[in-house]
């Protein structure tokens, strides 16, 4: 009887541990169970990425459609090369779409906003978005403002 009780409690303990790990995986770290290879990747070159990091959101009209996979320097053109994972069900981004680096709130995190263009053909795996707009860097903005003031 005592051994039975011990077995039940140990089983309960182990189940509790597994449930907690599942909770950490799904609820806390937001791990997605769906396969990753369904996503397709799109590249974009930016003059300046500001504070963009990998795993930042990629949005269309504010709705998340993917995330930033990696950020590297394009060694040929010496600009930032951002690789994005776009969810596979978003297959209607036209090839003349544009990408902007935006900021959530005044001091919030930075993310990429995609605006769709007018072409019939849509972006496929490995395509490049040519029309990009860099992050708004506060120092540049202030510098331009002061420069204009002096010129006036």
């Amino acid at each position: 009887m005592r051994m039975r009780w011990i077995e039940i409690m140990v089983g309960f303990f182990m189940v509790l541990g597994v449930l907690a790990l599942l909770g950490l995986a799904l609820n806390v770290s937001g791990l997605k169970l769906s396969a990753q290879q369904d996503d397709y990747t799109v590249h974009a070159r930016f003059e300046n990425i500001g504070g963009l990091t990998s795993r930042a959101k990629v949005t269309l009209s504010g709705v998340q459609i993917g995330e930033v996979k990696s950020i590297k320097i394009d060694t040929q053109r010496l600009v930032a090369l951002v690789t994005m994972d776009i969810y596979s069900d978003i297959d209607y981004l036209s090839i003349d779409s544009s990408a902007k680096i935006l900021t959530a709130g005044l001091l919030g995190e930075q993310y990429i906003g995609i605006s769709v263009g007018f072409e019939e053909d849509s972006l496929k795996d490995g395509d490049y978005i040519d029309d990009t707009q860099s992050a708004l860097v506060l120092e540049d903005l202030i510098g331009k403002f002061l420069f204009n003031k002096v010129n006036n």
Binding site: M3, I6, V10, G17, A20, L24, V28, S29, R55
Partner: protein, 260 residues
């Protein structure tokens, strides 16, 4: 002068011999032909004593630590208008640091000292020698199940600690301080990475479990078999495992998160 040097050297040699004996205990008790039929009920019993009976202290302290983190994080972050980030702060500090470390310290105090005292008393009352007399290896029969139980229980307890702590933080910040629930969880999910943060925390917990159980079992097995010796061994277990956990935590953090 020469005598002092001599005693210093002797103390160092004693330490080295102790480390050697500790390695021998683990080697002899764990590396052998597995005998699951005999071992499994013993292991279950030890998991019950080491893990299940530690659940209450782990859950209660996890809850309160999470709640304090939520409260402290809120009062600091609200000055910068970014109190939504409290979920991220609570989750990252719990999963990366506090869950493995605090669980290991509590585990050393709750389960490690009990293991040392139990094995030490067995040695003092000659139960270990009697086992040897009737042809049962005490390392296999007494020490091995306790080692395995500690290795298994410590990561499970740390995971439970982290989850309960995050719930405690969520309770304080969502229910009592009125942070918007969606941004609390989504901020957390955006910043916590499963392999980077959660799995590294679990690896830490596994390492701490091995170290704490090893120290506890060895101190019990190697103690001077008197009442005073047992009390000293129990103290040493708690002191050595706490120091080892804190020092190892720095090393593991530097390896995992810092670019040293």
């Amino acid at each position: 002068m020469l005598n002092q040097f001599g005693s210093l050297g002797r103390a160092m040699l004693d330490r080295l011999a102790g480390i050697g004996r500790a390695g021998g205990v683990v080697w002899q008790s764990l590396v052998a032909k597995p005998t699951p039929v005999v071992m499994f009920p013993l292991l279950l019993k030890q998991i019950y004593f080491v893990g299940v009976l530690s659940l209450v202290i782990i859950i209660v302290s996890g809850l309160f630590i999470g709640m304090v983190l939520g409260l402290q994080g809120y009062t600091i972050l609200v000055d910068y208008g970014s109190e939504q980030a409290v979920g991220q702060m609570v989750a990252l500090s719990l999963v990366r640091e506090l869950a493995p470390v605090v669980t290991a310290l509590l585990f050393a105090g709750r389960a490690g000292s009990a293991l040392t005292a139990e094995i030490g008393l067995m040695k003092a009352t000659e139960q270990l020698s009697s086992l040897e007399m009737i042809g049962v290896d005490p390392l296999r029969r007494i020490v091995a199940p306790r080692l395995w139980a500690g290795f298994i229980c410590m990561p499970v307890l740390a995971i439970i600690f982290a989850m309960v702590g995050i719930w405690g933080g969520a309770l304080v910040s969502i229910e009592w301080l009125g942070i918007f629930e969606g941004s609390f969880w989504s901020n957390m999910q955006n910043s916590v990475d499963f392999s980077e943060d959660v799995l590294n925390g679990v690896i830490k917990a596994i390492v701490f479990g091995i170290v704490v159980t090893w120290i506890a079992v060895f101190q019990g097995y190697d103690c001077v078999p008197t009442s005073e010796g047992i009390s000293q061994a129990t103290t040493r277990t708690v002191v050595y495992s706490s120091l080892a956990v804190l020092a190892l935590d720095f090393i593991l953090t530097a390896l995992m998160f810092g670019d040293l």
